[in-house]
Symmetry: C2
Subunit: 205 residues, 2 copies
DNA sequence: GTCTATAGCCAGATAGAC
DNA sequence: GTCTATCTGGCTATAGAC
């Protein structure tokens, strides 16, 4: 029926607006009024669809994380070589992040604010898991393809090099004296630079 | 005189308390009442020494940044080789961060919230500058000590690998299934691992 | 489902006694 | 300088008409 149709579109509008505002301002900085304005409705509607700010926030957070998780799973769970994984991930991740620049900061920030948020996420299917990646790294190390390295450490290095520029953007711009355009080019460069940097370090020569 | 003595200690107590609360909760999440409690005084005193929450926050932020800047300058402005710089920085930075675990997240978060904060900092003497580091990298590259690499990119790689674990702690703990103790060991390992990882990548073989 | 109006609370800031 | 008491505004949340 028609009401249901309206319900779904309004609900989606709210979620989109909430995503924008929460990602820009964080849970504490966001205002329900601003979300309502962004969605083109009024405050009462927000509470009609999501009983409280907290509940609305959790919906936004979950949906943001569900956008990020597949990116990670792609590295972890396919069957290609470590070198291929790194190249693909780096290239795709930077492209992905250029479309969602607020995402990493939002997730990192809110996870630090409330550590138990992550527990709820871990219950979900599709939560990234390192096991397969670990096995693959160990196998390539023992074959002599890679220099000895802990899989955990390598994984953190990969995501650190890829994610950090989006977290530390203001810092990097200030240190390296870059305007927005120069920063853009800098990040674009990293699509291939980062993979080369990593592979150069771990691949046996 | 006695009053001045009291003034200075109270002011310091406030600053310490504010540092604790702001770094844990952020500007928006922090409450003046909580800062007062932490300092063992009442709210009115906060406004006596710092006219507003905003002003108190800026004082805290500035002092946090002034703690971090020398760490970066140490890499950038001494005369040792790039390899030495990386080894020293990595070792010292991780040690330093283990003492101030909230610091990087605090700075990153608040800089993203208000980009112009960094402009105020840049006016200060002692703001990290990349020029000398850049010259050194270029020199070592042309001497054939290092593989070709942009100084900017190398610098970001160094700080990304060192800072990220402290930003993404909850994420890393969840992905790699580590408790606090295991995470601690993981980070401790990085004191030397990260430097080796970088040097392995950039040093000509 | 959608709106207006308002309840109820809480936080930052100030007045004023000591 | 330090306190208690209070003002004021803004925010989440709800009541209730349509």
């Amino acid at each position: 029926m028609k009401k249901t149709q309206n319900k779904e579109t309004t609900e989606q509008q709210i979620l989109d607006a909430a995503k924008t505002v929460f990602q820009a301002k964080g849970m504490d900085g966001a205002r329900m009024q601003e979300i309502a304005d962004e969605a083109g409705i009024n405050k009462a509607m927000l509470h009609y669809y999501y009983r409280s700010k907290e509940i609305l926030f959790e919906a936004v957070f979950k949906s943001a994380f569900l956008l990020l998780a597949p990116q990670l799973n792609a590295v972890l769970n396919d069957d290609s070589s470590i070198e291929e994984k790194i190249k693909n991930f780096t290239f795709n991740y930077v492209s992905f992040m250029m479309k969602h620049p607020y995402l990493p900061n939002f997730i990192i920030q809110e996870l630090n604010r409330k550590e138990d948020f992550i527990l709820k996420l871990k219950e979900n299917t599709g939560f990234p898991n390192l096991e397969k990646f670990k096995t693959k790294v160990e196998s390539e190390v023992s074959q002599g393809i890679l220099n000895p390295i802990e899989a955990d450490q390598l994984f953190v290095n990969i995501i650190a090099l890829n994610i950090f520029p989006f977290l530390g953007k203001p810092l990097i711009k200030a240190f390296a004296d870059k305007d927005d355009k120069a920063f853009q080019e800098f990040v674009d460069c990293r699509k291939t630079e980062v993979a080369n940097f990593i592979i150069n370090s771990i691949k046996r020569h």
